[in-house]
């Protein structure tokens, strides 16, 4: 085997200069990543967009129908319910998640004794697989036998029926999503530690209190990271909200927790209306794409680039 490789390399050296061979080898190493990125992400993302203009049931050949799918989905009430639910979900979960991560980072950024232990305990809850996390919360939120309501009862607080009631089901799912703050916390700890200590020393010499230091130094300097984290939570949330809905509520009660990813899954794989599912996907990512584009335009030059 090795002999063959050596001979192959020799043979190719007659045709290519060593410099060219070197570059050829480099591109060869890069090839799996580039090919995979193209075939598994780039093209599929484009095809999703293309399928939105076709009628397709995954068996026959797609038939071009123009804008018919878009016209169909905007006439369906369930689509608008899912849009509203998704927006509400993101509006509750993402800001809570970022605020939680920021508070934890502010508490746990100093390199004190035992700080790793505290950070690890919080980060550990982030690495729990989605399915396991959903099953744990299914138990935690059970109105009759769950520990959360037992705890609330102990304090004499009202005990909602959580996932069983349409008013509380979506907020409960959003709260559950908001507890996954580990990665955001680590990012913000790193960002906070990167701020020069002299700023804070200078502020303290000028008699600034803790709140003033935070308000005028930490907050403006961390703002780009917070924004980036907010966008990430919205984008990732659009995907990761699928598993809890699928496991815990099935979109119910009624349509109270039908989020867009779940509706798209149902459309595509239960009803085989792939065209309509793709149209919903296109709308969802159109909105997210606009948001991300806006933020990237705003954050250009904020230190998030190839020189990380």
């Amino acid at each position: 085997m090795s002999l063959l490789t050596v001979q192959g390399a020799r043979a190719s050296s007659y045709r290519f200069s060593p410099r060219m061979r070197h570059h050829l080898q480099l591109w060869l190493l890069l090839m799996p990543f580039l090919a995979g990125a193209l075939l598994l992400i780039g093209l599929p993302a484009l095809i999703t967009f293309g399928l939105a203009f076709t009628r397709y049931d995954a068996l026959g050949t797609p038939v071009w129908v123009g804008l018919e799918n878009f016209a169909a989905i905007i006439r369906r009430e369930v689509f608008w319910i899912a849009v509203r639910n998704s927006l509400l979900f993101a509006a509750i979960a993402a800001p809570l998640q970022v605020t939680g991560a920021l508070l934890l980072a502010l508490l746990l950024h100093p390199e004190r004794r035992g700080v790793h232990l505290y950070r690890s305990s919080i980060y550990l809850t982030t690495v729990i697989p989605d399915v396991a996390f959903a099953l744990i919360w299914l138990w935690l939120l059970n109105p009759l036998y769950g520990p959360i309501n037992a705890l609330l009862g102990w304090f004499g607080a009202p005990q909602p029926a959580w996932l069983i009631e349409s008013g509380t089901a979506l907020p409960a799912l959003a709260l559950m999503a908001a507890t996954r703050v580990g990665e955001g916390m680590l990012l913000l700890i790193a960002a906070r530690q990167a701020l020069p200590v002299v700023y804070f020393d200078a502020a303290m010499l000028d008699g600034a209190g803790r709140w003033q230091s935070f308000r005028h130094i930490t907050w403006p300097l961390l703002a780009p990271w917070l924004l980036l984290l907010l966008v990430r939570d919205v984008v990732v949330g659009a995907h990761s909200a699928f598993t809890p809905v699928y496991i815990m509520t099935g979109g119910g009660p009624g349509y109270a927790t039908t989020l867009l990813p779940f509706l798209i899954y149902e459309e595509a794989f239960s009803h085989l209306r792939i065209g309509q599912a793709a149209a919903m996907m296109a709308v969802m990512f159109g909105v997210i794409g606009l948001l991300v584009g806006f933020v990237f335009q705003r954050t250009r030059g904020w230190g998030y680039g190839d020189d990380v």
């Binding site: 995979g36 919080i122 138990w139 059970n142 520990p147």
Partner: protein, 313 residues
């Protein structure tokens, strides 16, 4: 606050150097130590409270998984009135084919992590050797790919794999490992290799080393911590992956533990300890890997001492 106490401490040391009597230092010590201690206690109290809140569900869950089955779950925490049912952990392997699913998951995750290690490090290594302009574009591409959520590609991937006859095979689950699973892993290697001075590679190329040799002999040994991190992250990615096996696997015998556990969600309330026991079994490997990674990354060869230092340092 900390800076101020440090300054006072330095003043105290300076005073001692100048020959001040030790008794004089009490006033310094008083200022330096007392407020610092109170603040430290407060900080530890707050940090501990937060850590406990985050860990409480896991502790509750583990305890609830040990309650004997057949009884309705206790309304409030009552300890173990009916004894500790370790047998739940044996029972769960009889109720669902958990051993088979764990085996499947282990196979998929190990192969996925191994292939990811190769492809991500190759890509990261090649990127570092490119011209700055190409590097800039490739990093941009990798960051862009990070922002495309997985469900944007559900439909075409399903259609693609169906056409290729890959539905119900592990190839469909593992396809993404050929591109390094996530572009994040490629970036991790890229950032890690960038810390190696360019001259080191340049001299290797001048000596006529092939790119392959440079990757194997120079780059990989220098990026050992990154390799470890990528292995742990990619292993737990495949271990936790729910949507891909849900979409692509049809035969129950091929289910990974993530989709296997789904069958437990409808379990009767009196058998919830089994559900929670299964969850504990699924979570444990991922947790252990992360804890291990955290400790290993402190680049301490003596593992046990590291654990102890972590706990008491």
């Amino acid at each position: 606050m900390a800076t101020m106490s440090r300054k006072l401490g330095e003043q105290a040391v300076a005073a001692l150097r100048r020959g001040a009597p030790a008794s004089k230092l009490y006033s310094f010590a008083h200022v330096v130590i007392r407020p610092g201690h109170t603040a430290a206690h407060l900080w530890h109290g707050a940090a501990l409270l937060v850590a406990v809140i985050f860990l409480l569900p896991l502790v509750w869950m583990t305890m609830a998984s040990l309650q004997p089955i057949g009884l309705p779950p206790a309304r409030a925490w009552t300890g173990f009135p009916a004894g500790v049912a370790w047998s739940n952990y044996a029972e769960i392997f009889r109720v669902i084919p958990l051993a088979q699913q764990l085996g499947n998951s282990f196979l998929v995750s190990t192969v996925g992590a191994g292939v990811t290690l190769l492809t991500a490090s190759w890509a990261g290594f090649a990127m570092v050797q490119m011209s700055p302009r190409v590097q800039h574009w490739l990093v941009g591409l990798a960051l862009l790919l990070l922002l495309i959520p997985a469900n944007a590609v559900w439909l075409p991937r399903y259609v693609l794999f169906a056409r290729l006859g890959l539905i119900d095979t592990y190839t469909a689950l593992l396809a993404a490992s050929l591109m390094g699973t996530k572009s994040l892993f490629v970036l991790m290697y890229y950032w890690s290799f960038r810390r190696v001075t360019v001259e080191l590679f340049e001299s290797a190329w001048l000596d006529g080393a092939s790119v392959w040799t440079g990757w194997r002999r120079l780059a990989m040994p220098l990026a050992a911590p990154t390799t470890l991190a990528v292995l742990v992250l990619s292993f737990s990615h495949y271990w936790s992956d729910f949507v891909d096996p849900l979409l692509f696997l049809k035969t129950a015998a091929r289910f990974t533990v993530a989709v296997g556990l789904r069958s437990l969600q409808q379990m009767d309330v009196t058998r919830w300890s089994l559900l929670l026991a299964a969850v504990v079994v699924m979570i444990a490997p991922v947790m252990l890997l992360y804890i291990g990674l955290q400790m290993w990354l402190r680049d301490e060869p003596d593992f046990a001492r590291r654990v102890l230092r972590r706990l008491f340092d």
